[in-house]
C-alpha cells in the first residue's frame, strides 16, 4: 500500500469486498508495495518436465520449423512414426473427454512407443489407455486417474499404485495452462497466484519468489515445451492452417509451445476457405508438422457440434480395464486387432453408431450413461 493512503480508505474498500479486519492486517502487512529483493522463498521438489532455455528453443524453431506452405498430409501411421519418438514428452489437445486426437493415441499404442512422459493436463481416456498399454511411464499430474463423472480410472490408478507409472510432479490445471503460455511466449516462466501454501506446490516444479513489485510471495511456473503435441480440429487445409469450433481450452497455447505438432482433422478444406475466414484460424500452418485427415478421429471422446462422447464404449473400457487381462482384451479388440482407425470405427459400430452420436450431440436423441445408476438404490 502506498504510504499516502489512509487506513480508513483501506478499511472501507476492504469491507466492500467482504474482507475481515484480520485479513486486512495481513493484506496491508504482506503488501508493503515496496521494492523487494526477488529472493527464492520455496522450490518445488517435482521433476522439471519439458523445460528448455528459451534461447535453445528459439534456435531449434529457427532450424526446424518451415514457414513455407508445404503439403503435410500423411497417414496417422506415418505421422506417429516420424514425429513421436520413444521417451518424448507428450501433450494432448482437447480437454478431458472432449476433442482428443484418439486416432493418434491408438496409433501410438499400435506402434508400441515406450517411455513416453505425459502432460496430465486433464488427461482421461487418452492417458488411461496409453498408461495401460505401457506407452507412458511418467506423468506430471494436474488431473489424471479419473474419467470425470464416470468414476476413477482403474488401469492408470493400478499403474500408479504398483509403481509401473511414476508421478514425477503435481500441478493444477491453470498451472499447466500457464506452463504452456510461458513456452508460447518464449519465456522461462510465468508468475501466478495459485498453488501457494500447498503440497501441490511442494510436489510441483514451480518456485515461489518474493515479487519485486509488491513484496508479496508469488509462484513462478516454468515454461513447458512438449516434444510433440497432438491436436484434433474441426477443419484444416493441407498445409495445417486449422480451425476449431467451440472452446479452445489450452490448444492456442499448446500449439505454439510444442516442438512438433500433429493435427488430425475431421475435414480437409482449401487454402481459399481458410483465407475467406481467417478470423477462425486458431493454428497457423508454420506450427504444424503433419496433417492427418481422420473423420471421427476423436472417438470415443466428444467433438463439439459433430458427435457426442461414446458412453457405451467408455463404459466397456472402464469395465474391462479393471484387470490387466481386460486391458489386453480391449487392446486386442480395438487396437492391435485392427490395421487402422477406419477399421477401429467399424469395430465400434461403424457409420450407424457415428450418426447416432451425431444425433445425441445435436440433442436429437437423449444421451446415455451406462456407468450411472438410478435404480432406486440411491438411498431415497
Amino acid at each position: 500500500m502506498p504510504g499516502s493512503r489512509g487506513k480508513s480508505r483501506d478499511s472501507e474498500s476492504a469491507a466492500a469486498f467482504g474482507l475481515q479486519e484480520r485479513d486486512l492486517f495481513w493484506y496491508l502487512r504482506a503488501g508493503s508495495n515496496q521494492e523487494a529483493e526477488m529472493e527464492i522463498l520455496q522450490s518445488g521438489e517435482g521433476q522439471l518436465l519439458g523445460f528448455r532455455d528459451p534461447d535453445e528453443n528459439r534456435a531449434w524453431v529457427q532450424q526446424n520449423k518451415t514457414r513455407a506452405l508445404v503439403d503435410k498430409r500423411m497417414s496417422a501411421a506415418e505421422a506417429v512414426s516420424r514425429f513421436v519418438q520413444d521417451g518424448d514428452f507428450l501433450a494432448m489437445g482437447g480437454f478431458g473427454h472432449v476433442r482428443v486426437s484418439m486416432a493418434l493415441v491408438y496409433e501410438i499404442i499400435r506402434q508400441k512407443r515406450r517411455g513416453l512422459r505425459m502432460a496430465g493436463k486433464t488427461a482421461v481416456h487418452d492417458s488411461d489407455v496409453l498408461i495401460a498399454a505401457g506407452c507412458v511411464d511418467q506423468i506430471e499430474v494436474a488431473y489424471t486417474f479419473g474419467h470425470e463423472l464416470r468414476g476413477l480410472s482403474p488401469a492408470s490408478r493400478r499403474a500408479a499404485q504398483t509403481g509401473r507409472l511414476k508421478v514425477v510432479a503435481e500441478i493444477s490445471n491453470a498451472g499447466y495452462q500457464w506452463r504452456f503460455l510461458a513456452g508460447m511466449m518464449g519465456l522461462p516462466f510465468i508468475p501466478t497466484r495459485n498453488m501457494l501454501g500447498t503440497d501441490t506446490l511442494k510436489k510441483s516444479s514451480a518456485k515461489v519468489v518474493r515479487d519485486p513489485f509488491t513484496g508479496k510471495p508469488v509462484c513462478l511456473v516454468p515454461a513447458a515445451y512438449p516434444d510433440v503435441a497432438l491436436i484434433h480440429v474441426h477443419r484444416c487445409d493441407r498445409f495445417g492452417n486449422s480451425q476449431i469450433d467451440g472452446i479452445l481450452v489450452e490448444d492456442f497455447e499448446l500449439s505454439r509451445c510444442a516442438r512438433r505438432l500433429i493435427v488430425t482433422t475431421e475435414k480437409l478444406i482449401s487454402e481459399e476457405d481458410i483465407r475467406r475466414e481467417p478470423g477462425q484460424t486458431v493454428i497457423p500452418h508454420f506450427l504444424v508438422d503433419a496433417v492427418v485427415e481422420v473423420p471421427y478421429g476423436a472417438h470415443p471422446t466428444l467433438m463439439p457440434d459433430l458427435y457426442y462422447s461414446d458412453e457405451q464404449h467408455i463404459a466397456e473400457w472402464l469395465a474391462l480395464s479393471r484387470s490387466d487381462e481386460g486391458v489386453q482384451k480391449y487392446l486386442d479388440r480395438y487396437v492391435f486387432g485392427v490395421p487402422d482407425f477406419a477399421a477401429y470405427l467399424e469395430a465400434v459400430g461403424g457409420r450407424a453408431r457415428m450418426q447416432q452420436l451425431g444425433r445425441i450431440e445435436r440433442y436429437e436423441e437423449p444421451s446415455v450413461a451406462p456407468w450411472a445408476q438410478r435404480d432406486g438404490k440411491g438411498e431415497r
Binding site: 474482507l19 503488501g31 496430465g120 491453470a174 501457494l196 503440497d199 466428444l302 444421451s367 450413461a369 440411491g378
Partner: protein, 258 residues
C-alpha cells in the same frame, strides 16, 4: 421428525448448495454436484447467475447435466467461448465471486485433498489430483466445498494438501501470497452446513440437516467441530426443486442417483 422424507441426502446437498448462490453472482463450477446446484439456482431464485467453466465457457444456459467438464453442454447458449487461460485469468483478476469444489478429504481449516491417500510416492489410493480445484480455491472470493462426511473424510491432518483452505490458520493465506480476503466460506455435507470461525479460521457447524443430531456429527468427524446451542436446521427441498432436479437437471441420475 416423524414425516417421511421424500428426498435423498444427495438431493438435499444440491438444494442447500443452490440456495447459497445469489442472483447476478459469478460462479466457477466443474461438472457434478456444483453444477447441479448452479443449474438449479438459475432455474429458481438466481436466473442471472453467471457460470464460468475452466475450459473456457462463460455464461451458458446449461440444458442438462454435462458428463465431461469441457462437454459442449457446458457452453450451450453461452455468451462467450474462450479458453482456459481466459477463464483462469478472469478468476485470478477477481471476476469470480464463488468457487464450488468437491473433495475426498477436508481438515478443520477447510484445506482439501484430492491427490492421494497414503504417501505420495507409494500411494494407497491415487486420486485425480488438483484439476482446477487449487486454482478455484486460490482465486475465487469465496469457496464452497461439497463432500460426503465421514470420520475418514473429515480428518485432523490431510494426507496431501492439494487445495488451500485457510492453511494453518488466520492470515496464512495472505502470508503464502494467495489473493487477499479469499478462502473457504461454507462446507456442505449430507449431515450439515459448516462455516469458519472469523478468529480461529476453524470449521464450525452452522445448521444441521433435518433429523441429524450433534452425536451424529461427532461420529462422522475425525476432529472436533463446535456446534452452537440452539443451532438451526438446514432448509429442506421444495417439491419444485425436487421436480427440477429429477426431471430436468439430472434425469439419468448420473450424480443424484449416487
Amino acid at each position: 421428525m416423524s414425516r417421511q422424507r421424500d428426498y435423498t441426502p444427495t438431493e438435499l446437498l444440491a438444494v442447500v448448495a443452490s440456495r447459497m448462490l445469489s442472483d447476478n453472482q459469478s460462479v466457477f463450477v466443474g461438472t457434478g454436484l456444483p453444477l447441479i446446484a448452479g443449474m438449479l439456482a438459475q432455474r429458481t431464485h438466481a436466473p442471472g447467475l453467471l457460470l464460468f467453466f475452466e475450459a473456457g465457457s462463460i455464461g451458458p444456459r446449461v440444458p442438462e447435466l454435462p458428463i465431461s467438464v469441457g462437454d459442449s453442454r457446458t457452453y450451450h447458449q453461452a455468451i462467450a467461448l474462450s479458453s482456459m487461460h481466459d477463464a483462469m485469468s478472469l478468476a485470478q483478476a477477481g471476476y469470480v465471486d464463488v468457487g464450488f469444489l468437491g473433495a475426498a478429504q477436508i481438515d478443520p481449516f477447510g484445506n482439501i485433498n484430492t491427490t492421494v491417500i497414503g504417501p505420495h510416492d507409494r500411494p494407497v489410493a491415487r486420486l485425480p489430483g488438483s484439476g482446477g480445484a487449487n486454482d478455484v480455491a486460490s482465486f475465487a472470493a469465496r469457496t464452497i466445498i461439497i463432500l460426503r462426511q465421514s470420520s475418514r473424510s473429515f480428518v485432523p491432518k490431510l494426507d496431501f494438501l492439494t487445495t488451500p483452505g485457510y492453511l494453518d490458520g488466520p492470515g496464512a493465506r495472505e502470508r503464502a501470497g494467495l489473493p487477499a480476503g479469499t478462502g473457504p466460506f461454507r462446507v456442505i455435507t449430507q449431515l450439515a452446513v459448516y462455516g469458519f470461525d472469523d478468529r480461529s479460521r476453524r470449521m464450525r457447524a452452522l445448521s444441521l440437516h433435518p433429523g441429524v443430531t450433534p452425536e451424529k456429527i461427532r461420529e462422522n468427524s475425525g476432529f472436533d467441530i463446535p456446534i452452537g446451542e440452539g443451532i438451526g436446521e438446514s432448509p429442506v427441498p421444495t417439491a419444485e426443486e425436487l421436480k427440477l432436479l429429477r426431471e430436468v437437471i439430472d434425469p439419468k441420475g448420473v450424480v443424484l442417483g449416487k
